[in-house]
């Protein structure tokens, strides 16, 4: 079964702290995406990770992919309130051979407090 699991599902952070969101998936893939969703809004693409060891950074967010462990991480550095949102990882299990179909994790609701 193709499964993508995120943890934690709920994350309450203080401003200035660091934390990591984990995304585990069930079978081999080397194409993984991270999206952000603000309340009442649609999904916005954050990162595209296409190979083992891929690391991408944008501001206070850094995403990495370990295909051997079937794990991606989204690391938050020195959190600020503007990062409050729901974060989804999504996996293309077919490696681009099935029209780009994605399987999504449940989402992690991140709240950053002062």
């Amino acid at each position: 079964e193709l499964k993508v699991e995120q943890n934690p599902l709920f994350l309450s952070m203080q401003e200035g702290k660091n934390y990591t969101i984990y995304c585990n998936y069930s079978t081999t893939s080397d194409r993984l995406y991270w999206y952000r969703q603000d309340p009442g809004k649609s999904l916005e693409s954050l990162f595209v990770l296409l190979s083992n060891g891929a690391v991408k950074q944008e501001g206070r967010l850094m995403a990495s992919l370990d295909t051997k462990a079937r794990l991606s991480t989204l690391h938050i550095t020195a959190a600020v309130h503007d990062l409050s949102a729901t974060y989804f990882c999504a996996v293309d299990f077919a490696g681009g051979t099935s029209y780009g179909k994605l399987t999504f994790g449940q989402g992690t609701i991140l709240t950053v407090h002062p």
Binding site: V4, L9, Y33, Y35, K41, S42, L43, E44, S45, V48, F88, A90, G96, T97, S98, Y99, G100, K101, L102, T103, F104, G105, Q106, G107
Partner: protein
């Protein structure tokens, strides 16, 4: 910028009604997708299309059908709406099989 638009942001329908949700993209993307989003379940794929008039079932196609008569437009049809189809519906498109998906603003459908 890629733009994916959906015909309605909010929709209220009655049980048994036929419901049409429209999605249009303006970047000549090959692939288009319909998802529903429910709390705690993430996004689940209903149907997708990889070319005009071509469609494939996703993970939860029961109770839904789709139509893609033009490349830029992908419609989701609920033949006879039921209360368990109350959800947020998101449309997405991608240039091809190897590129990220871009999402529309979503339609929040309530079936009474």
């Amino acid at each position: 910028d890629v733009k994916v638009t959906q015909s309605s942001r909010y929709l209220v329908k009655r049980t048994g009604e036929k419901v049409f949700l429209e999605c249009v993209q303006d970047m000549d993307h090959e692939n288009m997708f319909w998802y529903r989003q429910d709390p705690g379940l993430g996004l689940r794929l209903i149907y997708f299309s990889y070319d005009v008039k071509m469609k494939e079932k996703g993970d939860i196609p029961e109770g839904y059908s789709v139509s893609r008569e033009k490349k830029e437009r992908f419609s989701l049809i609920l033949e006879s709406a039921s209360t368990n189809q109350t959800s947020m519906y998101l449309c997405a498109s991608s240039l091809d099989d190897y590129n990220e998906q871009f999402f529309g603003p979503g339609t929040r459908l309530t079936v009474l």
